[in-house]
């Protein structure tokens, strides 16, 4: 399978043949509620309607789908939606404390990182699971009987924990203040989503492994944010039966997991540490 991920777009010009083409859709908004959708040109309008939920990234996926369908008309194309798993998030988890009309108009939490968390839900069958996905874009989901009841991600995947380039949770007065100071909203959005997080803290392009490698503010801040996110998920579930760490790069993250386990030693809970192989998981979705 050739996989298109808008976070790390690859140059397809070098590729000639394909058996299956997969595309990651970071934000399915109100349009896509299943993890894997077989794509035909008929799906393009739906995909276009999704772009507004995450214009830069979803826009890249849309362009890739358009190009891919034209280039390999014969082979199957699959769209993998990161928010689908959270489509039925209960209102108490989905709503922001905005006027109710905003909630019904779709200004709510959509979650994200659902391909990983739904895989965790399948792997670990326990009544209450805190699913912690550790990587350059991490997130925490609270699962009750396999269904998400809370997520650290929000209306967009920039909310929650800081990521490679995303700021994570922020005082909502700050984007307003920056715009009032004369910055263009688009520039503020770019700063918060693409120039913040680990990259801003280390002053160079950086992922979680870079943060964990060196002692300092970035590592302390990450640890601080992660502990809070796990604590919030535990509170939502009323305690957990299993805490799961699904790691993109298990060897690089081993110390982070160990530290987390030690910090939570006061909580009586079982642990499961999994290596998350996205490509293999996506294959399972389409089998």
């Amino acid at each position: 399978m050739i996989l298109f991920d808008p976070y790390t777009p690859t140059d397809w010009d070098l590729l000639d043949t394909a058996d299956t083409v997969g595309y990651i859709l970071p934000h399915g908004g109100t349009e896509f509620h299943v993890a894997a959708t077989r794509l035909t040109p008929a799906e393009l309008p739906r995909l276009e309607r999704c772009v507004r939920f995450l214009p830069a990234l979803n826009g890249r996926t849309l362009a890739a789908v358009q190009a891919g369908l034209a280039r390999w008309p014969e082979c199957p194309h699959w769209l993998f939606c990161e928010t689908a798993f959270f489509a039925d998030l209960p209102p108490v988890a989905a709503a922001y404390a905005l006027p109710y009309d905003y909630f019904t108009a779709g200004y709510r939490r959509y979650g994200g990182d659902g391909l990983c968390h739904s895989w965790v839900a399948q792997q670990v069958r326990a009544p209450r699971v805190v699913s912690i996905h550790l990587g350059d874009r991490s997130s925490v989901a609270a699962l009750q009987a396999g269904h998400p009841v809370a997520t650290s991600l929000g209306f967009t995947p920039v909310a929650g924990l800081p990521s490679a380039t995303g700021c994570g949770d922020l005082d909502p007065a700050i984007p307003l203040l920056l715009c009032e100071a004369g910055l263009e909203p688009a520039a503020v959005e770019r700063a918060l989503a693409e120039e913040s997080g680990f990259t801003a803290l280390l002053g160079r392009p950086a992922g979680l492994a870079d943060v964990l490698r060196e002692p300092g503010l970035a590592r302390d801040l990450w640890r601080h944010a992660l502990l809070k996110a796990v604590g919030a998920a535990l509170a939502t579930l009323g305690g957990a039966d299993v805490l799961v760490c699904a790691c993109d790069d298990l060897p690089a993250l081993r110390d982070c997991v160990t530290d987390l386990q030690q910090s939570l030693a006061f909580v009586n809970v079982a642990w499961q540490v999994l290596a998350y192989d996205r490509r293999a998981v996506l294959q399972e979705f389409i089998c």
Binding site: V158, A159, K228, G238
Partner: protein, 413 residues
């Protein structure tokens, strides 16, 4: 050193009120209220008239009088104290936001006054009111020393991991973006009171304190008396859902609302601060008591959702801080909602047994509101206390300490 009795007048400005208390202090911990009162509906253009009340020697006096601003109200307080011949040796003020300019309380000098001016834009609703009261006091009682206290000062010990927003350094530096935290005077008071009540030094306690007010609410994690984290941020908009404030939102959501709804930053500020929270979700009221009644009597779904959201966000903050502290020794509830609303406490503590928080349901329901009450089940490892706060008393205590320090400076032993 001879113990001198000090008469300290404390002003506490709300957005549309002015509280005052006159304390007689014979030491930093022994303050007695001699006169107190409150100006109501200051600067409010409503159908009901503004008034000011004074309480002195068990007698109450109410004066219906136009109160166009806080300075007018302060002038009336000073005149009243003069009329009843109550001496004033020092005057303390509360500033909501000291920003980077003040890490602790300070005596008013030309130098601190300049720094205070720099704080005004940080809390544009509250700080200028406090400043106008200072000006009135300087005009009326120029010989009386004054000092200022800050809601942000308690959070000065926050470590960079807690106060840094992982934004581009150029933005952080140019706009002074960091977490400050608020409700510090209240946290200072209730954490000390709790330690004293528990008979454990504050230095040995890991506390989660919930300041739940009818306006703003926040939670703080406190270890060894030092703030470790708090839910409010650069501004008091962040963190918990509040009466009319959103609390945390997705950081990009304000920008989407500008783009998709054509709203300006000023309109969003109004929306997030005044039309959201309990009021926004319920469409009924910003008062939790109204919503609880509505939910229980009519099953109103939006009232129920507003209450559930408020409690969920509070519970998540407590859980987050319990893990951050590596376990906690006591959970504190304070301010109007925290002390008076047993349903909120019951909801927030429900499902926190994993970190040792278990309520005694009967004790919680019947807790007195005028003094510290123990609310935890007797077998639970975490003490749960309801602690009425007294911000004016903290301001008074700060004044005693500041004046004593100044005296020591002038007359070294």
């Amino acid at each position: 050193m001879a113990r001198r009795v000090l008469n300290i007048l404390v002003f506490n400005c709300g957005s549309s009120s002015l509280n005052y208390k006159l304390f007689t202090a014979s030491g930093p911990e022994s303050l007695t209220v001699t006169v107190y009162g409150k100006a109501h509906r200051v600067g409010v253009h409503g159908t009901e008239p503004a008034f000011i009340e004074h309480h002195y020697h068990g007698a109450a006096q109410k004066q219906v009088v136009p109160l166009p601003d806080h300075r007018t109200a302060a002038a009336l307080v000073l005149r009243y104290l003069q009329d009843v011949a109550a001496p004033v040796d020092a005057i303390g003020h509360r500033f909501v936001h000291g920003g980077p300019h003040f890490q602790r309380s300070a005596l008013l000098t030309p130098e601190t006054l300049t720094r205070l001016e720099a704080c005004l834009p940080l809390a544009p609703i509250h700080n200028p009111n406090s400043m106008s009261v200072i000006h009135e006091c300087r005009a009326a009682l120029p010989a009386v020393p004054e000092y200022v206290t800050f809601d942000t000062a308690f959070h000065a010990p926050l470590r960079p991991a807690a106060y840094t927003y992982p934004l581009p350094a150029v933005l952080r530096e140019r706009y002074g973006l960091r977490k400050y935290g608020f409700h510090g005077l209240s946290y200072q008071f209730v954490t000390r009171e709790a330690a004293r009540f528990l008979g454990v030094p504050l230095a040995d306690l890991r506390l989660v304190a919930c300041h739940l007010g009818t306006g703003g609410s926040s939670v703080a994690a406190v270890a060894g008396g030092c703030s470790v984290d708090t839910t409010m941020g650069y501004s008091p908009l962040a963190g918990l859902m509040m009466s009319t404030r959103t609390g945390d939102l997705d950081p990009l959501l304000p920008l989407y609302l500008m783009r998709e709804r054509g709203l300006t930053p000023a309109q969003l500020e109004q929306l997030f601060n005044k039309q959201s929270g309990l009021l926004g979700i319920s469409g009924l009221s910003s008062d939790l008591r109204d919503l609880l009644r509505r939910r229980d009597e009519t099953g109103d779904e939006r009232a129920a959702l507003a209450i559930a959201l408020y409690i969920q966000r509070l519970k998540q903050a407590i859980g987050a801080y319990a893990v951050l502290l590596g376990g906690l020794d006591a959970l504190l509830f304070t301010d109007d909602i925290g002390v008076q609303n047993w349903q909120v406490r019951a909801g927030a503590c429900d499902g926190l047994a994993w970190c040792g928080v278990v309520l005694d349901e009967a004790a919680n329901r019947t807790a007195p509101t005028d003094r510290i009450a123990v609310l935890n089940a007797s077998t639970a490892p975490v003490r749960i206390l309801s602690v009425p706060t007294d911000e004016e008393r903290v301001i008074g205590m700060e004044g005693v300490a500041l004046l004593a320090a100044q005296e020591n400076q002038h007359d070294p032993l």
